[in-house]
């Protein structure tokens, strides 16, 4: 087996296990750390596909900045473990089968919407360099890019306004 395939299998398994752990864990800090695991293994998957810039951006923005903020807030609020509520008898009996049915339905729908799958060749894609992404962002996807930047600006202004009100 090729090294790429081995790495893909390892990272895919790790990301799914971390995602499951994220939902199952009772304590928020465990969930946050599992989410970091998901982010990191996704970054490796991007790297395997040849999208090295996206992989690094994933690590810097999601693995670094966003998750540090999550962990910071959890630590600051000193949030305790989640307390289990009394589950209804319906949830206890039908919960798992319904979940599996939902996942199956989603998979079926996505499979129908997506174009027929082709073989993935690791590292064959060359559009993942910083130059290529910059070019695409400023030509093909200029309008969405600008709209997102305005949206982020509005969010920043909103955060500043809310924070200021708190102080006064």
């Amino acid at each position: 087996m090729h090294v790429d395939t081995v790495l893909f299998v390892i990272c895919a398994i790790v990301s799914i296990l971390c995602a499951l752990n994220l939902v199952v864990q009772k304590h928020p800090i465990n969930s946050a750390l599992s989410l970091i695991g998901v982010m990191a293994s996704l970054a490796v998957l991007y790297l395997l596909l040849g999208a090295e810039f996206i992989a690094m951006a994933q690590m810097i923005v999601y693995g670094g900045a966003v998750m540090v903020l999550f962990v910071f807030v959890i630590m600051l609020l000193n949030a305790g473990g989640e307390k289990a509520s009394h589950k209804s008898w319906f949830a206890q009996i039908a919960g798992l089968p319904l979940l599996l049915a939902l996942i199956g339905l989603l998979a079926f729908l996505i499979r129908g919407v997506l174009p027929p799958l082709r073989d993935v060749n690791f590292g064959s894609w060359v559009g993942g360099t910083a130059e290529a992404i910059g070019r695409v962002l400023f030509t093909e996807y200029l309008l969405p890019f600008e709209i997102i930047s305005v949206l982020i600006l509005i969010a920043i202004l909103g955060a500043v306004v809310l924070a200021r009100k708190e102080i006064d």
Binding site: L33, M59, G64, A65, V68, M75
Partner: protein, 394 residues
């Protein structure tokens, strides 16, 4: 030779040198700090305390490895491991010299040439805060928690000016790999001013370098920004509950981060392995430096301050002569001379780190945050805008 064997050899060399540097950096720090404060520093173990790092390792290994009953065990054990692993990873993308040919084998003086090298270092830096944050949280101790919180807040704040300061030389180099960035700094203005990014024409580039260094101090939790472990308010901050090898892991991570950040500063702003002055004779400069060092040792041995200096200084002198001889062999010169220049630049920056530690007092926490957001961040932004304007116009 196959790629795997060459890579393994390179990893072995880099690992050995890196570990020795980490051990002796601590000795140098103690010595320099001691001399700044009119003391002598470590002197008992070996000549001039040179065996002190070894003694420290034995001390830390043989200390009792405490596991407090009130900690959250998994994260408590995971934290030092995370810290030291992430700190040691970054060195793998740092280049120490140009492409070289050894007996027909063509290779880079670098473990791996990643074409987003600088982003890799930033990504590792972004996640390395978890070591400290987790240590603070899992210790279940007020002082540790405060240390961990301070560290996360500080690292988020100072990452912004650090990254903005990095973007300016990237704009000038038009490249994301370290090799490309360094190659863009080759050559000289007017035949004698090196084209390093510090001397690059948009004048504020030297400010970019200073901003990077200040933010680097904060990112590595060094004085004057070592608030996460401020011993007069927080006992020992995030590593209060750690002892023995787990403490040593944090200690090693701090020094490894220092080496990484100074290496990145060297590559981005100081021209990497390019020599300070032009000309073919610069290949002989290291030899000259070592000969001068040997002369100084012999001169000191002739008028010893202590009795044993009469034995130790001539030995050091002979060592310097041997080094001078090695650097004079034409076979070694193509890879040893760039390594010498790289190491000397990193060494100067590391000395600055220690010098600042010996000189400046610690900031107050609100001053630290205020400084980052209201001064350093706008400065970095201004520097970036001016550089972008310069690149766009010329």
């Amino acid at each position: 030779m196959s790629f795997v064997i060459v890579s393994l050899i390179k990893i072995a060399i880099v690992f050995a040198i890196f570990m020795t540097t980490l051990a002796y950096l601590q000795w140098i720090e103690r010595k320099v700090l001691a001399h700044i404060q009119s003391r002598t520093g470590p002197l008992r173990v070996g000549p001039h305390g040179l065996m002190q790092p070894l003694a420290d390792v034995f001390k830390l290994l043989t200390k009792e490895d405490l596991l407090p009953p009130y900690v959250s065990k998994v994260f408590y054990l995971l934290a030092p491991f995370t810290a030291v692993c992430l700190a040691l990873i970054s060195i793998s993308v740092i280049p120490f010299g140009p492409e070289i040919d050894v007996n027909g084998t063509h290779t880079y003086m670098q473990i791996s040439d990643v074409n987003v090298g600088i982003l890799f270092v930033l990504a590792i830096g972004a996640v390395s805060v978890y070591g400290v944050a987790l240590a603070g949280w899992s210790s279940n101790n007020k002082y540790s928690l405060l240390g961990g919180l301070r560290s996360s807040a500080q690292m988020i704040s100072y990452e912004l000016p650090l990254t903005l300061a990095i973007v300016a030389p990237l704009l000038l180099a038009n490249h994301l790999s370290f090799r490309g960035i360094v190659d863009s700094q080759a050559g000289y203005y007017l035949g004698f001013i090196p084209r390093w990014n510090v001397f690059q024409s948009p004048f504020p580039q030297i400010f970019g370098f200073i901003i990077f260094m200040i933010a680097g101090f904060a990112e590595t939790n060094r004085l004057p920004f070592d608030l996460p472990e401020a011993e007069n308010e927080l006992v020992a901050g995030f590593h209060t509950e750690y002892s023995s090898m787990k403490f040593a892991c944090f200690f090693m991570a701090e020094y490894a981060n220092m080496v990484t950040i100074t290496s990145v500063a060297t590559l981005l702003f100081l021209g990497g392995w390019h020599p300070l002055f032009p000309g073919p004779y610069c290949n002989w400069f290291p030899t000259f430096v070592f000969l001068f060092a040997a002369f100084l040792f012999f001169y000191q041995a002739a008028r010893p301050a202590r009795k044993r200096d009469r034995i130790t200084f001539p030995l050091f002198g002979v060592g310097a002569l041997v080094l001078a001889g090695i650097w004079a062999v034409p076979f070694f010169q193509p890879f040893l001379v760039p390594a010498f220049w790289f190491a000397s630049k990193v060494g100067v920056l590391l000395f600055t780190y220690i010098w600042v530690r010996g000189t400046l007092p610690r900031f107050r926490y609100d001053q630290l945050m205020h400084f980052a957001w209201t001064f350093l961040f706008p400065c970095a932004l201004l520097n970036l805008l001016l550089t972008a304007l310069f690149v766009a116009v010329f």
